[in-house]
């Protein structure tokens, strides 16, 4: 067995477990404070279902999987293209979140200090968004390397690990979506 690859996989799994544990606490805090805000605005009044966002992010999991598959087959340009699509979808998600936050802050007057809903909403969604940004930085580097010729088929394990992280970020969004937009609304 290629031991470098095994090490990398073990490391990334450990990292993802630690991250899950981090998110779990923010999720617990959010669930704990649902319905406990003393003043408005309340989630029901101001939150819209971020359907487009969710579709973008979830489909980016498919595109990144296609990219790693293309890389494994030695088709670098095709992998680069799929990675690029993944980055675009991730950026679309971030743009959607930015727009949502602008609307909440400017139009609805909900900030982190307004009430318990604001106190728990922004950190949870923001923590996820910051992970999206980290993922996008890594994916963008992969895109650059793919088109500069630095990315080779031997690197497929590494790109695979980046894709694991990206799948994890997607999985967290499923939880955040359920907790914030379904259960909490």
């Amino acid at each position: 067995m290629n031991s470098t690859a095994a090490r990398g996989r073990a490391g990334v799994i450990g990292f993802i477990v630690a991250e899950m544990s981090l998110f779990a606490v923010f999720v617990v805090a959010y669930l704990f404070y649902i319905g406990k805000s003393a003043t408005g605005p309340y989630p029901r009044e101001v939150l819209d279902l971020p359907i487009v966002n969710t579709v973008c992010l979830l489909s980016s999991s498919i595109t990144v999987a296609l990219a790693t598959r293309a890389l494994a087959a030695g088709r670098i340009a095709r992998a680069g293209a799929w990675l690029f699509v993944t980055v675009v979808l991730g950026l679309a998600f971030l743009a959607g979140t930015a727009q949502e936050w602008r609307r909440l802050i400017v139009e609805r007057g909900l900030t982190i200090g307004t009430n318990l809903f604001g106190s728990t909403f922004y950190p949870l969604v923001g923590l996820h968004a910051s992970h999206v940004i980290v993922g996008l930085v890594m994916l963008s580097l992969c895109v650059v390397f793919a088109f500069s010729g630095a990315l080779k088929a031997v690197h497929r394990e590494r790109v695979e690990l980046v894709s694991w992280y990206w799948h994890f970020v997607d999985g967290v969004w499923v939880v955040v979506f359920t907790v914030v937009y379904v259960v909490g609304r």
Partner: protein, 540 residues
């Protein structure tokens, strides 16, 4: 000189980082010890004014934080760093640079905590250190109640050391999972490696929640969020849950590697195989699993209700079962053995007795109504210190006497070691056995002085009287280390006639650890090499 310093600062070698972790830990042990000594001086007799009340609060905050995060954690992961690759026959950890990152994060976090003396109140006035206690209950930590920056230094320090610790834990897991020598199956790993695997797994699961809670506290303090802000509907209890979900397993993270040390040292000095290897491993994993469901026994007095109280009382008592199994394992290993009472073994024997006592007071405190009476009293403080000093510190010293020859090529002086041991045993028991009684008589923890008519005065004086003995023991130990580094008897590869792989290489080991590895066909590869006529394999 500068070149040597440069070599150590830029090193990514697990042995050097391990040594640096342990040395850092001992620097902080001395600092935390001085803080403890000051508190004991202040409490020696009613109405003393050795330190003012404010300073006393800062002392117990820094003492607790230092000992748990800057002494306990570095020692645990320092030994793990040094020993795990050697014991499983690998050349380094899986990610050497990540390893260095973890260590330097710890140093940075530690420096940040102590920088609070200078920066805590923005350099005007006399400066200050955090005074919120090591578990920093909300809402005391909110901006309204602790203005200034001292609490922020505490917060950031723990956040930063936590990131480094998680990195190292992941590193150890990846190393144990993927870098074992040929033949080193999971079932043949030394028990110590199992304990490090267990505590690394626990660290990955329970340290990020503390990090999350610290981030929430930062958001409260700097951005006006209300996580723990009771005036806006936030919950002070939530902080307690988050903190103790970390805090209780943390005690086991510190303690379980101590069990690992004992499980390596006791067989070698009894000249027998460890009794019940499989039960020890299962007990280790069991402690790891159960310890994550006991945290709210720190919170019996907050009014969780009968159901939750019962649950946490039962789960807390349940931890006693695997721990008890281990005590019997060690005793059965010693039974009928050819015991050699070298200093390392002496420390293990004291550990067995003291840790048993600590476990028994733990079972007492797990009974919720008993805890209602004695929570936040000196009984709890005595119990906790019995675990971490009587249990952990004694096994750490055992480990140092045992592995110092491997790390340096020199033996520690047995003569000084015996002085160290007996002074520490007498001093420790004088202080901490006695400390239980003022607790039972109602003396609360974290008071800077007390009236003379409570019947606590003589007990406190005796408690304080143990301090100089322990301090002398530690000074003798430090002298022993410095002296033996130069003048100790040469150790040779395997001075204890031990069996695990780290003794197969030279002392100190070369950078690459092993030129050739002995074949691993049992749990005691070196025994097999020395006794080809009677290898262990068929007996396992």
């Amino acid at each position: 000189m500068l070149a040597i310093l440069h070599d150590w600062v830029v090193t990514v070698d697990h042995k050097r980082l391990g040594i640096m972790y342990v040395v850092t830990g001992f620097v902080f042990l001395v600092i935390g010890g001085v803080e403890a000594a000051l508190m004991r001086l202040q409490l020696a007799w009613p109405g003393l004014t050795v330190v003012p009340a404010d300073t006393f609060n800062r002392l117990f905050t820094l003492h607790g934080t230092t000992m748990v995060f800057l002494f306990g954690i570095p020692i645990v992961f320092g030994f793990g760093n040094y020993l795990v690759p050697l014991m499983i026959g690998s050349r380094d950890l899986a990610f050497p640079r990540l390893n260095a990152f973890g260590f330097w994060m710890l140093v940075f976090g530690g420096a940040l905590l102590y920088f609070s003396f200078i920066g805590g109140d923005g350099l005007y006035g006399s400066g200050s250190a955090p005074a919120v206690g090591w578990f920093a209950y909300a809402p005391l930590t909110e901006r309204a109640f602790t203005p200034g920056n001292a609490t922020d230094y505490w917060n950031l320090s723990i956040l930063i050391t936590g990131v480094g610790t998680v990195a190292t834990a992941i590193n150890l897991i990846a190393t144990i999972a993927t870098m074992r020598a040929p033949g080193m199956t999971l079932g043949r790993m030394p028990v110590y490696v199992w304990t490090m695997l267990t505590v690394s797994g626990m660290t990955v699961l329970i340290l990020p929640p503390l990090t999350a809670a610290q981030i929430m506290l930062l958001l409260d303090r700097f951005l006006g969020a209300h996580y723990f802000d009771t005036q806006a509907g936030g919950s002070a209890i939530l902080w307690q849950h988050f903190f103790w979900f970390f805090g209780h397993p943390e005690v086991y993270i510190l303690m379980v590697p101590g069990f690992g040390f004992a499980s390596e040292i006791i067989p070698v000095f009894s000249r027998k195989v460890i009794f019940g290897y499989a039960t020890l491993v299962v007990a280790t994993l069991g402690i790891g699993a159960v310890s994550m469901s006991v945290w709210a026994h720190h919170m019996f007095t907050v009014g969780m209700g009968a159901t939750l109280n019962s649950f946490f009382a039962i789960s807390s008592m349940l931890v006693g079962v695997p721990t008890g199994v281990k005590i019997f394992n060690w005793l059965a290993t010693m039974y009928g053995g050819k015991l050699r009472f070298r200093v390392a073994m002496l420390f293990c024997c004291a550990f067995l007795f003291q840790f048993l006592c600590a476990g028994l007071t733990g079972i007492m405190l797990a009974v919720a109504p008993f805890d209602w009476q004695l929570t936040d009293s000196y009984f709890v403080v005595a119990h906790f210190h019995f675990v971490l000093l009587g249990g952990l510190l004694f096994t750490i010293f055992a480990a140092i006497y045992y592995w110092f020859p491997k790390a340096t090529g020199r033996m520690l002086s047995e003569r000084l070691g015996r002085w160290h041991f007996w002074l520490l045993v007498v001093g420790f028991n004088l202080t901490f056995v006695t400390m239980h009684f003022p607790g039972v008589l109602g003396m609360p923890r974290r008071i800077y002085t007390y009236p003379a008519d409570r019947g606590w005065d003589l007990l406190n004086l005796v408690t304080t009287a143990g301090v100089p003995l322990q301090a002398a023991a530690v000074l003798i130990f430090l002298f022993n280390v410095v002296y033996s580094l130069r003048h100790g008897a040469p150790a040779g590869d395997n001075p204890w006639e031990a069996w695990t792989l780290e003794w197969a290489t030279s002392s100190p080991p070369p950078v690459y650890n092993f030129a050739t590895l002995p074949p691993v066909t049992s749990r005691r590869p070196l025994w097999d090499v020395q006794h080809p006529d009677d290898p262990d394999g068929p007996h396992e």
